[in-house]
């Protein structure tokens, strides 16, 4: 767990980020490619739901089988990994790792706002993840699978989701500003 000064030292050796618009074009071309090859776009939370279903199944198969939400992944002899999103997410891990290793931005580190301690940050990160996890399941997707992918196909519900995400985040941002500023 490194300190702020370690992080600053790190920053000196980092490769610069891509221009946001060029990164956006690159991301858009990746997305376009998946549409042309697979007929569908990118995602993240769907694969995490499958992994969660797998872990929960290891602890309590009866609960998972009876559950109206998670049970669906195993219905009719289905396998937790039998979805291209699971393989895609494995690729995201490798791609993120490669990106970090080739840019000097890899390193064990707790990123946090200037007023937040390490433990508090980890707690709030977990809480944020929990809330986002509930929201993503309710909306059947996240910023990748709904906003980005659905946005590019002009899906009405995905656009509604995207504006709701920004709305929810901006509405709460003022009240949680001590976490980040």
């Amino acid at each position: 767990m490194s300190t702020v000064s370690d992080h600053e030292e790190h920053a000196l050796r980092e490769r610069p980020l891509w221009d946001p618009y060029l990164a956006g074009v690159a991301l858009g071309l990746v997305l376009l490619g998946t549409f042309l090859v697979f007929g569908r776009g990118l995602g993240a939370s769907g694969a995490l739901a499958r992994l969660t279903a797998l872990l929960a199944d290891g602890v309590s198969p009866a609960w998972v089988a009876a559950n109206g939400h998670l049970g669906g992944y195993f219905a009719n002899g289905g396998h937790w990994w039998d979805d291209w999103l699971v393989f895609e997410l494995a690729g995201v891990v490798l791609g993120g790792l490669a990106g970090g290793l080739t840019s000097g931005r890899f390193g064990l580190h707790v990123e946090r706002g200037p007023r937040l301690g390490v433990r508090a940050r980890l707690g709030f990160a977990f809480l944020g993840g929990l809330i986002a996890g509930v929201g993503a399941r309710l909306a059947q997707g996240c910023t990748s699978g709904q906003a980005l992918t659905g946005g590019a196909t002009l899906a009405l519900g995905s656009w509604a989701f995207m504006f709701a995400v920004f709305g929810g985040a901006y509405a709460l941002a003022y009240f949680v500003r001590r976490l980040w500023t």
Partner: protein, 207 residues
């Protein structure tokens, strides 16, 4: 005619490749940093908006062009079904989680891959959230499934031709980009600090 729909083993290999490119680009966009992502919600760094809408417009225009050329069967594409109520409520909840945790699911996977332990905590949180949602499913499942789940495009809703909506979305994005650049200039005071603020946002206070 696209999409191609490759057979299984090739599909899985290509899925890993697509994910690799996705993760790599997210890292290079700076989305492995929760502080950079959260700065979007304090108007100090508009990278999230710029990258997202550039990507949406790029893919959308590509799909539109290939469809117009007769190379793509648009009806074969998966279009997220519309469940307006759950998507709006889910989006508001999701946005709150994003503001508190500083990540979304895809970006937290990238950040965790580069060693960010807070991203790992967010990732565990998502798993907990999925379990909470599943536990509540007997109560909220009815609402979660409400809204029809039909294939509704913005163009159906606005009763405009698809191509016209694609142009309108492009113009909307361009308008937001001009707005984003203006906001970043306004928020970056003194002006000489603008570049640094955008790259390493926000600079930790010297101790």
């Amino acid at each position: 005619m696209m999409p191609v729909h490759p057979t299984t083993w090739l599909a899985y290999a290509l899925a890993i490749l697509a994910g690799f490119a996705f993760g790599f680009v997210l890292e290079r966009a700076g989305f492995g940093s929760s502080r950079k992502l959260a700065a979007q919600f304090y108007l100090r760094d508009m990278t999230v908006l710029k990258v997202m809408f550039t990507a949406i417009v790029t893919a959308m225009l590509g799909l539109t062009l290939l469809r117009a050329l007769g190379l793509l069967d648009f009806d074969q594409l998966f279009v997220n079904p519309t469940f307006l109520g759950p998507q709006i409520v889910g989006g508001l909840i999701f946005g709150a989680g994003f503001a508190i945790g500083g990540y979304c699911p895809g970006t937290c996977v990238v950040a965790a891959s580069t060693g960010k332990l807070d991203a790992l905590a967010f990732l565990l949180g998502i798993g907990a959230g999925i379990l909470v949602f599943s536990g509540l499913y007997p109560v909220i499942g009815g609402f979660a499934r409400s809204g029809g789940g039909e294939r509704v495009l913005l163009s159906d809703w606005l009763r405009l031709p698809y191509g016209v909506v694609a142009i309108l979305v492009t113009l909307l994005a361009l308008g937001m980009f001009f707005g984003a650049e203006w906001i970043e200039r306004r928020m970056a005071a003194p002006p000489s600090a603008a570049k640094k603020t955008a790259d390493d946002e926000p600079a930790p206070q010297a101790s």
